[in-house]
């Protein structure tokens, strides 16, 4: 009878109740009672028999009987809040008058107890339904005539109040039930053909009667749910009605006997529909009834079994009791505990159900998770990975992620893995590895959209470095870049931009937007790459940096990035220099660059070179530089400018290296390295230049002349006469060489004629002749004066001296006595003499004599240091012979001293 579509389980244990007195025998005390009604509550099962007696059963099957009606009982109901039953029936005294009897069950045993009886005098029909409102002050009575009577009073204190007719129908009332709705109250009234609701108003006329369904329900085939819905069991299905209309329905086929509400489940007893086409049932007497228990919430049949001769079903003590076998058997159906239910579900792989069940039976979270995991494992083993993953996701955060991840690492299951990892991140439970994995998944799947949304979503936390790394590896540069940007990973950003995307312009823009510190740092690192690709812009940017701030960084740090871009480097360095940032390295570099450039272009036009050199010699480099290439001009200008601070020796090396002659010469000149200049020209065999050099610098270094002479002497086959003659003139002028040496030097040349030196030699000889003559004259003069002195001495020694002077040498007056005459023919007044004479010497000659004496004395004193003085003088002097002669005259080389004779 149960629809085949519903899932079925056996969640109920079946126990046949034994007789408490005789444990081996079934409890069969009810077998002879014609039980018609069943109620339960307050630890009792209340049974009503057709004959009008009430039978109660306690938990231990203790039986208690009370004869309520002595003829017939037609309906039995119960107070909700009290241990009181209310029943309708007839007493044999007057079978026409229906009676309502109210019985307090706890007073049933009292000997003189009488139930409260209300007789419905004017009714002829039977009472078929009874309902008592929770508040005990409203009672509805349904009659077989179709009328519904309404007592609006406390029925327990009944004082002959008259009921009023609430509703008049045409068929017997099969059920009545009160329900509170908000602040109002209404009743469900059902007949076999109709279900209506009667809503009470504050006045009689406000009452509203509405048809709920145009199909009715048989007696006992209805019940109320916990929520106050009416359950109506019909032949095809079980319908649930709410106060305002029909609700869901559960298809159960079969002739329903009764329906009960048992803890969220429907207990349905139904007779199986006999298939009429089949042969008549062999055992027609056997009345087979199926009892099903349907879980409304979880939608499964928890129990289903056929019993014979089912009288009724009652729910009490958390069990369902089936009164079967015409009362010979009571079968207790007890729901299994959740664990056993789950076991059953697991066995049948009904995991989803197990989860629902666990949740609805208040399982703790971890318990539920464990079921979910089992379910997921099951799905996984079946190969249904999508579903398995959707279950695994539910286990977050209880289940260890690695357990799941390991199962889904296969590349075919990457979609599922992605899902899981995404969820992990959403719940902020992911670690670094998870992030890596997730990003890898995205990239493998090429799921750019989700990747983007993952990265953009701010609330997802993950390790940024890992993220960038993974994205980059897998070629999702755009995303990686955004990530870098977002987290200020400048270096990574540039790395990707430059190395992977090769978008140099963008990189440069990015650097430009950075703060100075990081911009400089990154530029140092990546400048070379940028330079290689977008040189102009890079330089522009570099310049910008320095034009705004002077000391952002040492410009030399950027030099390396200009590799292979010397033009730009020049541009940059010139710019820097203009900015007055002077540094030796910059100058040197710049110079080097200039020279290199010169060397590159210079090789093409060697002719110009020569002119250039000449110009350089004329110091007209800048004005007449028509022959200079621009590069050379630049270089030279640079060398000559005052505010550059290049290293001199380095500059020299560089000029030499690059054979930048103009520069080299300039530098030589600047450093007074005339020899080098000369040597340079000699190396180039540039005769005119050699001569010019000698002319220009001969004053500073006369040796140049000698060198050039030597040079020319070695040159054979040239017409060098003019040069040599000019040199000789100068040699002569500076008296640099003796003619002998000149001859010796020139004799090395094979082609030179005597004609060349003729004039020189003639000049020299004339000059020497002239000198000799002069010396002869001097000699003669000296000899003459010596002779004179000798005769004078003789004269003094041998002849008397006549003093004939009549004037005083000192005052010029006439001499008169006393007078003093000196041997030197000077006469004085004695007075004058005394006044002027020192140490009795002639005052006129005293100065001369004392000078002479002093000189001698000095000579004697300086005898020891004379040697040094002589050498010094010798070195310093141009005409060394004169010095030697002079010293010779002073008696330096004499062995004995000539002591002059002192005057008397």
């Amino acid at each position: 009878m149960v629809s085949i579509k519903q899932r079925r389980f056996n969640f109920f244990d079946e126990i046949t109740i034994k007789d408490p007195q005789e444990p081996k025998k079934n409890f069969d005390s009810l077998k002879n009672l014609n039980i018609k009604f069943c109620q339960s509550g307050r630890d009792l099962i209340i049974l009503g028999t057709d004959e009008g007696s009430i039978v109660t059963l306690d938990k231990h099957m203790g039986l208690n009987t009370f004869q309520l009606f002595d003829n017939e009982m037609t309906c039995l109901s119960q107070f909700k809040n009290d241990n009181i039953i209310i029943a309708g029936g007839h007493d044999s005294s007057n079978q026409k008058i229906p009676l309502i009897k109210i019985l307090r069950l706890d007073k049933m045993d009292e000997p003189n107890f009488r139930p409260l009886t209300i007789s419905l005098n004017n009714a002829i029909s039977k009472i078929t339904a009874l309902a008592v409102h929770d508040g005990n002050n409203s009672v509805c009575v349904g009659l077989s005539s179709g009328d519904v009577l309404f007592y609006k009073c406390d029925i327990l204190k009944y004082k002959n109040e008259k009921p009023r007719i609430l509703y008049t129908g045409s068929s017997p009332i099969t059920g009545i039930s009160f329900k509170n709705l908000g602040r109002g109250m209404f009743v469900f009234v059902s007949t076999e053909y109709l279900i209506i609701t009667i809503t009470f108003g504050n006045r009689e006329k406000d009452e509203k009667i509405a048809v709920l369904a145009d199909d009715g329900v048989k007696p006992r085939c209805w019940c109320m749910t916990d929520k106050g819905e009416l359950v109506a069991a019909r032949k095809d299905a079980v319908y649930v009605y709410e106060h305002d209309g029909v609700g869901p329905c559960y298809p159960f086929e079969g002739d329903k006997i009764s329906v009960h509400w048992f803890k969220g489940k429907l207990v349905i007893a139904a007779k199986e529909i006999q298939n009429k086409s089949k042969a008549p049932m062999p055992t027609a007497t056997i009345d087979s009834t199926t009892v099903s228990i349907y879980d409304v919430e979880n939608k499964y049949v928890g129990f289903s079994r056929s019993f014979t001769n089912v009288l009724n079903i009652v729910c009490e003590w958390s069990s369902v009791y089936v009164l079967a076998g015409k009362g010979e058997q009571i079968i207790q159906l007890t729901e299994k505990d959740t664990q056993s239910k789950l076991q059953i579900l697991f066995k049948k792989n009904h995991y989803q159900m197990a989860i629902d069940l666990a949740q609805s039976s208040q399982y703790d979270r971890e318990g539920v998770i464990d079921i979910i995991r089992q379910y997921a494992d099951h799905l996984y083993s079946k190969g249904d990975f999508d579903k398995a993953m959707s279950q695994y996701i539910k286990t977050i955060p209880f289940l260890e992620p690695s357990y799941i991840i390991r199962r889904f690492l296969d590349s075919q299951r990457i979609v599922n893995l992605t899902e899981y990892l995404q969820e992990l991140h959403k719940q902020k439970l992911a670690n670094e590895d998870h992030t890596t994995l997730l990003l890898n998944c995205y990239t493998k799947l090429k799921d750019e959209q989700r990747l983007n949304s993952f990265l953009v979503e701010g609330n997802v936390e993950f390790d940024v470095d890992t993220g960038i790394k993974v994205l980059r590896q897998s070629g999702f540069y755009k995303q990686a870049l955004n990530l870098c940007k977002k987290h200020s990973k400048h270096e990574d950003y540039l790395k990707i931009q430059l190395e992977n995307l090769k978008d140099y312009g963008e990189s440069l823009n990015y650097i430009q937007n950075l703060d100075d510190q990081s911009a400089v740092l990154n530029l140092k690192k990546y400048g070379k790459l940028l330079m290689a690709n977008i040189p102009e812009k890079t330089v522009e940017f570099l310049k910008n940096i320095y034009s705004v701030q002077k000391f952002v960084a040492d410009p030399t740090d950027f030099l390396h990035i200009f590799l292979m871009h010397s033009e730009l480097l020049i541009e940059f360095l010139e710019f820097i220099q203009k900015k007055q940032i002077n540094s030796k390295i910059i100058s040197n570099t710049l110079l080097e660059l200039y020279l290199k450039r010169v060397a590159e272009t210079g090789t093409k036009n060697k002719k110009n070179q020569k002119l250039l050199i000449e110009d350089a010699m004329n110091e007209n480099i800048l004005s007449s530089n028509s022959s200079l290439s621009i590069q050379e001009k630049y270089a030279l200008e640079f060398l000559m400018s005052n505010d550059t601070s290049y290293d001199m020796s380095l500059a020299l090396t560089l000029c030499q290296l690059h054979q930048f002659k103009a520069g080299l010469l300039y530098l030589y000149e600047k450093n007074a390295m005339y020899q080098r200049i000369l040597q340079y020209h000699m190396d180039n065999n540039d005769h005119i230049s050699i001569l010019d050099t000698c002319k220009r610098y001969g004053i500073h270094d006369p040796n140049l002349w000698i060198q050039s002479l030597q040079y020319f002497s070695k040159r054979d086959g040239y017409n060098l006469k003019d040069f040599i003659m000019q040199i000789l003139t100068n040699i002569e002028k500076f008296n640099l060489l003796t003619p002998l040496m000149v001859i010796k030097i020139l004799s090395q040349n094979n082609t030179l004629t005597i004609d060349t030196v003729k004039e020189y030699l003639l000049n020299r000889m004339k000059k020497e002749e002239h000198e000799i003559k002069e010396n002869q004259d001097t000699l003669n003069r000296y000899l003459k004066s010596i002779m004179e002195m000798k005769t004078h001495i003789d004269h003094l020694k041998t002849e008397p001296i006549i003093f004939q002077a009549n004037k005083c040498e000192s005052c010029g007056d006439e001499l008169n006595f006393p007078s003093i005459h000196c041997l030197c023919n000077h006469s004085f007044h004695a007075e004058c003499f005394e006044n002027h004479s020192v140490d009795g010497a002639c005052p006129t000659c005293a100065v001369e004599n004392s000078n002479f004496l002093n000189h001698i004395k000095l000579n004697e004193e300086s005898k020891k240091t004379l040697h040094d003085g002589f050498h010094k003088q010798l070195e310093r002097s141009i005409d060394t012979f004169e010095v030697i002669a002079d010293y010779f005259g002073k008696g330096l080389f004499n062995k004995t001293l000539i002591v002059p004779e002192s005057l008397p």
Binding site: Q6, K152, A210, D236, G245, V246, C249, P251
Partner: protein
């Protein structure tokens, strides 16, 4: 929650076209890829707003299987609107529409607003029924047509609300008798609230007496 009107809907169509999923998407905003077969009739409700009025939609989700047809039929009568659903990836579900429509005409209120829905529009690759065919069928029978996807929620909201608008318009036009609840339309409790409040206090008995008058 108070509502101005309550509309009752019924969702019909062949088994497996996604009726329950449409309802789940509309009421719970989620999609369940695996859904048990609907057995009997299930039930859902949601509040919407039309024209500034709160309207409660009470939706019966019926079983599509033939064996439940008789049960389903009993639900036609109390419905103001119907969503007639077919599956665009299964032509037979489209072919059966006429049968469903026949049932509608036979058992339901003649004014019932019917919306034709081609579900599973996300499965474009497996489409068997062209959108034009659905439109043509709707035109022919005077239905509103829409293609939806319960999976992606595309047009789901529109389908339910569109039907509600249609019903609402019919009420405004006086087509529906709103006092006859058999039409599947109920006027909200707030309309005659003042009259229904008082009797409770006087008939509510000792338990409710104390609270009866205080508001």
């Amino acid at each position: 929650m108070a509502y101005a009107y309550l509309f009752k809907y019924i969702i019909i169509g062949d088994t497996g076209v996604g009726k329950s999923c449409l309802l789940l998407q509309f009421t719970d905003k989620r999609f369940q890829p695996v859904h048990d077969l609907t057995i009997g009739v299930e039930f859902g409700a949601r509040m919407i707003t039309i024209d500034g009025k709160q309207i409660k939609l009470q939706i019966w989700d019926t079983a599509g299987q033939e064996s439940f047809r008789s049960i389903t039929r009993s639900y036609y009568r109390g419905a103001a609107g119907a969503l007639l659903v077919y599956d665009i990836t299964r032509r037979d579900t489209f072919n059966h529409l006429a049968n469903w429509l026949k049932d509608c005409r036979e058992y339901a209120n003649s004014n019932m607003a019917i919306m034709l829905i081609g579900n599973k529009s996300d499965l474009e690759a497996r489409r068997e029924v062209k959108k034009e065919e659905g439109e043509a069928f709707a035109r022919e029978h005077g239905l509103i047509f829409m293609e939806t996807s319960a999976k992606t929620a595309a047009n789901v909201e529109e389908a339910f609300i569109g039907t509600a608008k249609e019903i609402y318009q019919k009420i405004q036009d006086g087509v529906f008798d709103i006092n006859n609840e058999a039409n599947g339309i109920k006027v909200g409790p707030n309309v005659n609230q003042s009259s229904s409040q008082k009797p409770l206090g006087s008939t509510g008995g000792s338990n409710t007496n104390a609270s009866g008058g205080c508001c």
